[in-house]
């Protein structure tokens, strides 16, 4: 019986989640429909209250000369305090009929908390004098003293766009997948990806879920066939630079505000107290960046070349390692590793866990005193175990083979660099056979 009941909650069975697809789809559909409704209601209100009146005021309203009889500040209470906008009592005649409406300054009639600004606007007009105004031919009591297009009115049109976009895209997605199983959706997604792959490379991938070797074979070597790309690509130095610049720019603005307050004779001690730990953190980041930059420069370039790529279980390959830098190399070690990588959600964060499931020392060279050199070139043989798992990549899970070159550099200490390898399940020639 339980099989026929709709499950109202998701239940985790081992690594698999169960629950009602129908309810999940309905929930998504309701959420998207709500977003779309909010977007359209907001758009309608903005059009009716702001955009259309402004367009009409500029296109349809009729110019007239009116006598200013009185003026006042309109006050509107809100939760954040009162808001103000000016009002002008005008007197003018249209086709022999006299009108005495309270006119707005402009059609948007925007109320603000800035009372002095609104009072200054009010003071620009003198009672008893004549001014040009524009009235609505459909409703002559609706009058403004100023026309023109405001950026605010048109910018407000952007506000509902994300709601409408999320609503339409979400409903389109729900409609497309309505009543479709996870397998059928997967088939459709795979087919789209396969077509894209065929368009790009002219053929379907021979090994599904195995990364393409293109990122490695794109770079030919000078000693052996291919030069392996590093996994890090210097992102740690670049990341530290960006973080250091952004952090210290914010700190500099806050420090400037604190100093400016002190110079004016009204020092903000609380601000100064709050800025101090951030300034220390900023200085720490700058030191870390300089240290990392010096370390990277000192360690120098690590070149790893390989005789063949992709690799296959049971295969033997030749390696060439070239380590050069400003400081001498005391120890160099090359490891072949295989790592599993799993990405999962924890609350709102996406986390990645890594476990090393294979590690083999390919090469280790200790340099004794007097032997240490700033450039070290070595050759080694690499063997992939016969029962090795091939490289694997899906959206949230990965199995990667890497060469890790690490060691110790004089005066700089330990270093480690990773180079990506792709292990295929079997040779492409086997498939052809």
């Amino acid at each position: 019986m339980a099989r026929y009941l709709i499950r109202f909650y998701g239940k985790k069975r081992g690594g698999r989640r169960t629950g009602s697809n129908l309810l999940a789809t309905l929930g998504s559909g309701c959420f998207c429909a709500l977003a779309l409704t909010i977007g359209f209601v907001a758009l309608g209100k903005i059009l009716v209250l702001l955009t259309i009146p402004e367009v009409r005021a500029n296109r349809d309203f009729i110019e007239q000369t009116a006598l200013l009889l009185d003026k006042r500040l309109d006050e509107r209470p809100t939760a954040e305090g009162a808001e103000y906008a000016p009002r002008f009592l005008l007197k003018f005649s249209v086709r022999g009929r006299t009108h005495t409406p309270w006119a707005l300054f402009n059609i948007t009639d925007l109320h603000t908390h800035d009372r002095p600004r609104e009072e200054a606007l009010l003071a620009r007009f003198e009672t008893g004098r004549e001014y040009t105004c524009w009235y609505d031919p459909r409703e002559p009591e609706r009058v403004v003293l100023s026309r023109g297009y405001s950026w605010f009115t048109w910018l407000m049109l952007v506000v509902p766009v994300p709601f409408i976009a999320v609503g339409i895209a979400g409903l389109w997605y729900v409609g497309l997948n309505w009543g479709k199983s996870v397998e059928r959706r997967s088939v459709q997604a795979q087919e789209a990806a396969r077509r894209e792959q065929i368009e790009l490379t002219g053929q379907a991938p021979p090994f599904p879920a195995v990364p393409s070797p293109g990122d490695v074979t794109d770079s030919p070597g000078t000693t052996l066939a291919f030069r392996l790309p590093t996994v890090e690509l210097g992102w740690s130095v670049l990341g530290l630079l960006v973080l250091s610049v952004v952090w210290n720019s914010i700190v500099a603005i806050l420090v400037w505000m604190a100093i400016d307050g002190y110079r004016r004779g009204s020092p903000d001690w609380l601000l100064a107290l709050l800025v101090a730990p951030f300034a220390i953190g900023g200085a720490g980041l700058a030191v870390l960046f300089i240290r990392q930059l010096l370390f990277t420069g000192g360690v120098g370039q690590t070149i790893v070349e390989i005789s063949e790529h992709p690799l296959y279980p049971g295969g033997r390959y030749e390696l060439f390692i070239d380590q050069s830098g400003k400081q001498s190399v005391k120890r160099l070690r090359v490891l072949l590793v295989c790592e599993e990588e799993a990405t999962f959600r924890q609350g709102t964060d996406a986390r990645t866990a890594t476990r090393r499931v294979y590690e083999h020392e390919v090469l280790c060279r200790e340099m004794f005193d007097g032997q240490a050199a700033t450039r070290l070139q070595m050759r080694a043989e690499l063997e992939i175990p016969l029962s090795a798992m091939h490289s694997f990549r899906s959206e949230h899970n990965k199995i990667s083979w890497k060469l890790i070159v690490g060691g110790e550099i004089s005066r700089l200490g330990e270093f480690e660099r990773s180079f990506l390898l792709h292990v295929y399940p079997c040779r492409l020639e086997t498939l052809a056979a």
Binding site: G14, R16, S181, M389
Partner: protein
């Protein structure tokens, strides 16, 4: 009211296949006397298990729709066969596991579904273990899994 079930049989009761082998078998929707199936989907697929979010990809898919083919009887046994791909191989890792299975999903009136599944192994990789730093580890050969039911 009878719940119904899905019976899937792999030819020769095999559970281990090598890349490029043909996987074939038969499936049947059983004991659904009062509820009419509207469609049946058969998938040969792999999915991941472990610490990460589940990924899934379908290697072979067929759908029989009673609405599209009025004469079809979804309760009768149906055969299937598919040549298996060269990857990904079944893998028993530490935080990433790759499982292969044949899954049959029966759609019933009112949006209800019945699912039957039978696992199989593609390739014969040994299970992985955590590597200890500085120690070369060679994987251990894994015995083939016991044949058995898999709904």
């Amino acid at each position: 009211m009878n719940e119904g079930s899905v019976r899937i049989l792999l030819d020769g009761n095999r559970r281990v296949y090598q890349p490029g082998d043909v996987l074939s078998g038969e499936y049947q929707v059983e004991s659904l006397r009062w509820i009419e199936p509207t469609a049946v989907e058969l998938s040969v697929l792999w999915y991941t298990e472990g610490q990460g979010e589940e990924d899934l990809a379908v290697h072979y898919f067929e759908r029989v729709d009673a609405l599209a083919q009025a004469s079809v009887d979804l309760r009768r046994p149906r055969r299937f066969n598919s040549r298996l791909p060269y990857s990904p191989l079944s893998y028993q890792g530490v935080i990433v596991k790759i499982r292969w299975c044949v899954r049959v999903r029966v759609f019933l009136r009112g949006g209800k579904e019945l699912v039957g599944e039978i696992p199989f192994q593609l390739g014969n990789l040994p299970p992985a273990r955590l590597a200890e730093a500085g120690v070369a580890r060679e994987p251990v050969q894994q015995p083939a899994p016991e044949p058995g039911g898999g709904f």
